[in-house]
């Protein structure tokens, strides 16, 4: 056997052809298929047109109302109703409404549906988030996923692998978000095209599962087909916590071939901010000191985790969101929302003058719950700052980690987070 990368080994284990060498066209059978209230409705129409009696396996399909849920208008309500109805008609038990689910990629992990060696096909580009769990998340469009629901498989080209070696340990206020913003800055928005980004190395242990999600989530912003982290004690413990049966981590063979090798020294990183309109336009936070913001948004599929909420609460404890600034905080799932409430984080955040939302994609994609007006500027923990992403084409979005976002909320402008942390908080009245 030729030595394989993690990606090649996981694909080979799911491929009808058995082998998976870069450039080959193979047919892959996923463990899970994931759709939402935006990609789902288009997919359901195509699925019905394919003329099959029902999906390949209703128990392996997950439908999440997250983009427009809770519905902001009648059209969106109709799309969500279609999704709910499709689940009911085809006996799909994994359907999640607001109050029970959350944002699909965070929810999928929480439900224990993705772990070591698994593959999820998602009708959403950020399905790559699953790479954090030593599995493969592969994004597709609605018609491809209609075919996946109908036949239980899809063709694809085996990507090259790019090895990202993490070394060292990150300093204060440096998170997974900064690792991925630095990587995208270095290789560009199509630097990983036709490739899988594979993360490993001695620095891996310093990244919690939440931080790995933040990294994996934005692999697509580097143009990657998919990405995957090495498994370790963290990922194994995570599977156990989510009630999954133990499975061995998939590790790269020695001698596996990579298109490229990139080393990132975590100790050398500072908090990064990506300037509009490109996730690849990252600069150290200090370079943007003084940039005014109208809105601060903490949320999204990978940066609305407990880790993010704890960072926000720590930064806001005893402080206030600056006058003239509005802050919206969106826990990624219902379970995270409840845990944050139990820990008292939501109280701290609300007391500081921020709005806490129910889990939703909301303003991350410019849908609802915090859309920007013409000329407005936001800083967000989301993953895209394209023109008009969060609202009017003449609004702009800066991307950053939760520490940086919360510090900007307090100051009303971008500021290195250690400068806010160094100020004595005022006692809460």
């Amino acid at each position: 056997m030729t030595p394989g990368t993690i990606t090649q080994k996981i694909l080979a284990a799911h491929a009808e052809e058995g082998a998976a060498r870069p450039g080959e066209i193979i047919t892959v059978r996923p463990d899970v298929v994931l759709l939402n209230d935006v990609s789902g409705p288009l997919s359901f129409e195509q699925f019905e047109a394919m003329g099959v009696a029902g999906p390949f396996d209703p128990d392996r399909i997950v439908l999440v109302a997250d983009h427009f849920a809770p519905a902001p208008n009648v059209t969106a309500a109709g799309a969500i109703a279609m999704t709910r109805d499709f689940a009911r008609r085809h006996g799909i038990s994994h359907y999640y409404d607001p109050g029970r689910g959350g944002i699909e990629h965070a929810l999928l992990a929480e439900l224990g549906l993705i772990g070591h060696g698994g593959i999820v096909f998602g009708a959403d580009s950020h399905t790559c988030t699953a790479g954090a769990f030593n599995g493969l998340g592969i994004g597709f469009g609605s018609t491809d996923l209609a075919a996946a629901m109908a036949t239980g498989r899809l063709w694809m080209r085996v990507p090259d692998s790019i090895r990202v070696e993490l070394i060292g340990a990150p300093g204060s206020f440096v998170t997974g978000k900064d690792v991925i913003l630095e990587l995208i800055r270095r290789i560009g928005s199509d630097g990983a095209a036709e490739a899988s980004l594979e993360f490993g190395g001695s620095g891996l242990a310093a990244l919690s599962m939440d931080e790995r999600m933040a990294v994996a989530n934005m692999a697509v912003e580097a143009g990657a087909d998919m990405c995957v982290f090495e498994g370790d004690a963290h990922s194994a413990a995570d599977m156990e916590r989510r009630g999954m049966a133990p499975a061995p981590a998939v590790m790269p063979d020695s001698g596996a071939a990579y298109r490229d090798r990139i080393v990132i020294d975590l100790a050398s990183l500072s908090p990064m901010v990506a300037k509009p309109p490109s996730p690849a336009a990252g600069v150290p936070v200090g370079a943007l000191r003084g940039q005014r913001v109208d809105q601060v948004y903490v949320g999204n599929c990978a940066n609305g985790t407990m880790t993010d909420l704890r960072q926000v609460a720590e930064m806001l404890r005893g402080r206030r969101v600056a006058d003239g600034v509005r802050m919206v905080v969106v826990p990624a799932t219902q379970a995270i929302w409840r845990q944050a409430m139990a820990e008292g984080l939501l109280e701290v955040i609300a007391a500081a003058g921020a709005a806490v939302s129910t889990p939703t994609c909301g303003a991350c994609f410019g849908g609802h719950m915090g859309i920007l007006a013409a000329g407005e500027t936001a800083i967000a923990t989301t993953n895209r700052n394209y023109r008009g992403r969060m609202g009017h084409p003449d609004s702009q979005v800066f991307l950053a980690n939760a520490w940086v976002a919360a510090a900007a909320a307090v100051r009303g402008e971008i500021v290195p987070p250690e400068e806010i942390a160094a100020l004595m908080p005022e006692p809460i009245a």
Binding site: P41, L42, Q46, G141, T143, D144, A146, R387
Partner: protein, 168 residues
């Protein structure tokens, strides 16, 4: 399979993402005529009004990057775009376009050279031969599409292709 497309060329730059092709606030829409009206609204609100049925898009690097929204392909098709000649295209967008019968020809030279507003022709001869782009008597060869992509385009999209394979 042998497919031909002839139309006027519209040029766009690098990194045209699906958020500007079809902004997020329209994602609850599904009808092609509704989506077509908002095609490229995030970049150029006049675009949808200028395109005529059968027109050809010439684009730069990483076209269609970002969101997997198939609404972007539906909007381009409904606005009238019949074929895309690209320097390069994002994987999910490329698959979505092929699946809905909108050919994407990868050919950096043609993508750079095609003249705005002038007539061009795209031919897909099939049988693993290179697609051809022609304008003003000049000719460029694109990257071969591969047998699976050819089969989907020949069937008229992935839905008829799946019906075919399930019936076989």
């Amino acid at each position: 399979m042998s497919l031909q497309y002839e139309g006027l060329v519209h040029r766009l730059g690098d990194e045209i993402n699906t958020d500007v092709i079809l902004p997020g606030r329209y994602l609850a829409l599904r009808r092609p005529e509704e989506l077509g009206r908002h095609c490229l609204e995030g970049l150029d609100p006049g675009f949808a009004g200028r395109v005529r049925p059968g027109d050809i898009l010439a684009v730069g690097r990483n076209f269609g990057c970002g969101s997997s929204r198939e609404h972007a392909v539906i909007a381009l098709k409904a606005a009238g775009i019949a074929a895309i000649v690209a320097h390069s295209a994002a994987r999910i967008f490329f698959r979505n376009a092929i699946n809905l019968g909108l050919p994407v020809i990868l050919c950096p030279e043609a993508a750079a050279a095609l003249r705005e507003g002038a007539l061009a022709r795209v031919s897909l001869p099939g049988s693993l031969t290179a697609p051809l782009v022609v304008q003003d008597g000049r000719e460029w060869q694109g990257a071969p599409l591969g047998s699976e992509v050819e089969a989907i385009l020949a069937a008229g999209g992935l839905v008829p292709r799946v019906r075919q394979t399930l019936a076989a």
